[in-house]
Amino acid sequence: MSVPQYRKVAAAALAAGLGLSLAACSTKSDDSADAGGKVTITVDCQPVGAQKELLKNWNDDVAEFQRQNPTIVVKSVSVGEQCNNPPDFTARLAGGTVTDVFYGYMTDLQQVLDSGQAMDITEYASKDTIGTWDSVDPALKEVFTDGGKLYGIPVKNYSMGLVYNKALFQRAGLDVNNPPKTWPEVRAAAKKISALGGGVAGYSEYSAGNTGGWHFTSLLYSQGGQVLSADGKKADFNNATGKQVLQNLKDMRYGDNSMGSRQLLQWGDLLTNAGAGKVGMFIGAPDATQAIVTQFQGTYQDWAMGPLPGQGGPAKATLGGGEGYFFKKGLSPEQVRAGLKWIAYQKLTPGKGQFDYARAKPQNYPVGLPQPLLFTNGSDAQKQELELRKANANVDTTNFAVFEANPVPIKGEPRNAQAIYAVLDAAMSGVLTNPDANIDALLKTAEDKVNQLLAAGS
């Protein structure tokens, strides 16, 4: 072959190869039903490889589910340890690459609807597809409902309280069975804990990556405030309640120096410090202790939980949230039913999947946490779940007894939660990093920004 001919052949091969490569990049999904009449669904939030036991549990669940439902094939997809990292989730929604049945937070409904990826599953969700459906808390179903149509199935629900380190409490001479019930008590305890030295923060708080706004909301709820007005059209935190929230933090940070010097913390930063035994108290959900142990090298016996404190007495409300699964638009009825059956098996059946406490007991995952609060009080499913939880508890349930015995009314997250949280981060970071922060100005700026966001409808 002459040199020019050789070059032409090489060029043609390169072009053909490129064409094939591009074709191979196509994201066209598999057909929903194969010739054998099997229904295939893709489901995300499979645990990652590093979560060995959780991954094995998931894969075992898939195998058992498929054995029980021979016409259904479940294809699992892992989307990271934090199943809904907001930027990744947004990219998947925008790119149309979400799985058939996909994980999301309770605050994600609007975004999922806007992306045009949500399927109305109202006619499919019933006792026929999810045996415990009638026991699922109606308030949680409502979170995934818009205009009377159901778009998702709740699979986890939490409410926030005061998480505290018993070991540090003991060292500071505080009563481990009697956590602070008011913010002034939190302040006094934080002062004693930080006096231990060694870089220990008596109380720690977020102020970056939208987590500052998230916790500001919970702190505001504890004082009886709300982020948005009742009609959801105006910001409603630039008032005495909002000021009290920021003043408490500023007093602890700069008045008492009891919050540590490192600020601008987000989720992993605070929990890393907590795992290292450098945090006395913070507000969080019961499963924060699970993250501290499984991801940040802490130990269960160090951690306990009380109800969210209030200003002069018990908290007036606490922030509740959770997660669920949405269904991708365009699925066949068979796929939707198959997806619902899978969720029912893995997430909503006492004794199976996430409620297989007998399996979880010997593993490094906590059984006995007062979570997830999925079923209505007194319902059959709740009774079964509580009995199984009690029988298989591998954490000291007395550590959560004060939290459970003092329930605080749960309040949901505001509309446009993530956008609002991003704005409120600035107010939180302001009081935690600037000793001369002007609280009135911080709240006014945040109020203007939130009102602008709401007006824009973004």
Partner: protein, 319 residues
């Protein structure tokens, strides 16, 4: 719309349209050129396809999206609404101010320091290679790793932080670094300069080594000191490289994103680290506002393109 001007009427005076026979000959010539370079064109397909799919299409799509709005899966044309909305965002001007401050500081520090480091290295007689490797080493670190090093070790606001420990040892007041609104930008520029200067130093060194030694000898004979040799020999001789790197530096630093994201966990204290690129990310990925993000991206593109055009024109005049 009907054409009211005859084809060719817009041509420059004095260059009339070629007669039809000439046009046919030109077309035949073009066909021959394509045939002659078929192999080259075929090899180009890969690069062109990659640019088309991964660069040009997203840019065009971004411009289109900036005039649309998607709600409930329905996309509608909204004219300039996204632009009006994004400009009204209270963080819009803060982000631009921060971006310009970062660019300005980076120009002072990140542009000048590598030049003088290169001159210094060029003057050394010993350990040249070793020092070059040392200067280039940070470039080999992944930017995220380098920034995490700064965040957790150098900029720790306690006295255990590297910089604070040094300041304390020198009897100087410590800083809260990324937690101080006034120190956020200088701290980001410092980290960025340390991370990136190796590449610029090597380019400057290459340019410096093309300067004929006789010029320095002549200057020395004329009694020029070090500073005058730099001003009258080095800078004029490396003018083109200096100009090119200045433009690249400005275009790159105006898109600063990794530094605020990692060093300041995003916005920093009271928006002190929010850059335009980070604001785009915030709108697109946290606020469910991809259309607003696209509009801001287009504004940034226009600003950078405008700057580049002015810059190219100015340097062309100088040449």
């Amino acid at each position: 719309m009907a054409l009211t001007t005859a084809p060719g009427a817009t041509r420059r005076p004095g260059r009339p349209a070629p007669p039809p026979r000439q046009l046919a000959a030109r077309r035949a010539g073009l066909g021959r050129k394509v045939r002659d370079n078929l192999t080259g064109h075929t090899f180009l397909i890969g690069a062109v396809a990659c640019f088309a799919v991964f660069s040009w299409y997203p840019m065009v799509r971004g411009v289109v999206m900036s005039f649309q709005r998607t709600r409930r899966g329905e996309t509608t044309w909204v004219g300039w609404d996204n632009y009006v909305r994004i400009i009204a965002d209270p963080s819009f001007w803060t982000a631009w101010k921060n971006t310009f401050v970062f660019t300005g500081l980076a120009l002072v520090l990140g542009y000048a320091v590598p030049f003088f480091v290169a001159i210094l290295l060029n003057e050394l007689r010993h350990a040249k290679g070793y020092l070059r490797v040392l200067v280039y080493l940070p470039v080999m670190l992944p930017p995220a790793s380098a920034l995490f090093l700064f965040k957790f070790y150098a900029y720790d606001p306690s006295e255990a932080g590297l910089f604070n420990a040094v300041l304390t040892a020198l009897g100087l007041p410590t800083s809260e670094w990324m937690q101080s609104p006034t120190m956020t930008m200088p701290a980001m520029v410092l980290a960025s300069t340390w991370m990136n200067m190796g590449g610029a130093v090597l380019i400057y060194l290459a340019a410096l080594q093309t300067i004929p030694g006789e010029l320095y000898e002549a200057a020395e004979i004329d009694g020029a000191g070090v500073w005058r040799r730099i001003v009258h020999v080095t800078i004029p001789q490396t003018r083109l490289i200096l100009a090119l790197l200045a433009m690249l530096q400005i275009v790159a630093t105006m898109q600063v994103f990794t530094e605020p994201l990692i060093l300041a966990n995003g916005a920093g204290t009271q928006d002190s680290a929010t850059s335009v690129a980070y604001l785009i990310y915030q709108h697109g990925f946290f606020q469910n506002d991809l259309n607003g993000a696209a509009a801001l991206g287009v504004i940034m593109l226009v600003v950078l393109a405008g700057f580049s055009a002015v810059y190219v024109r100015l340097t062309a005049r100088q040449d």
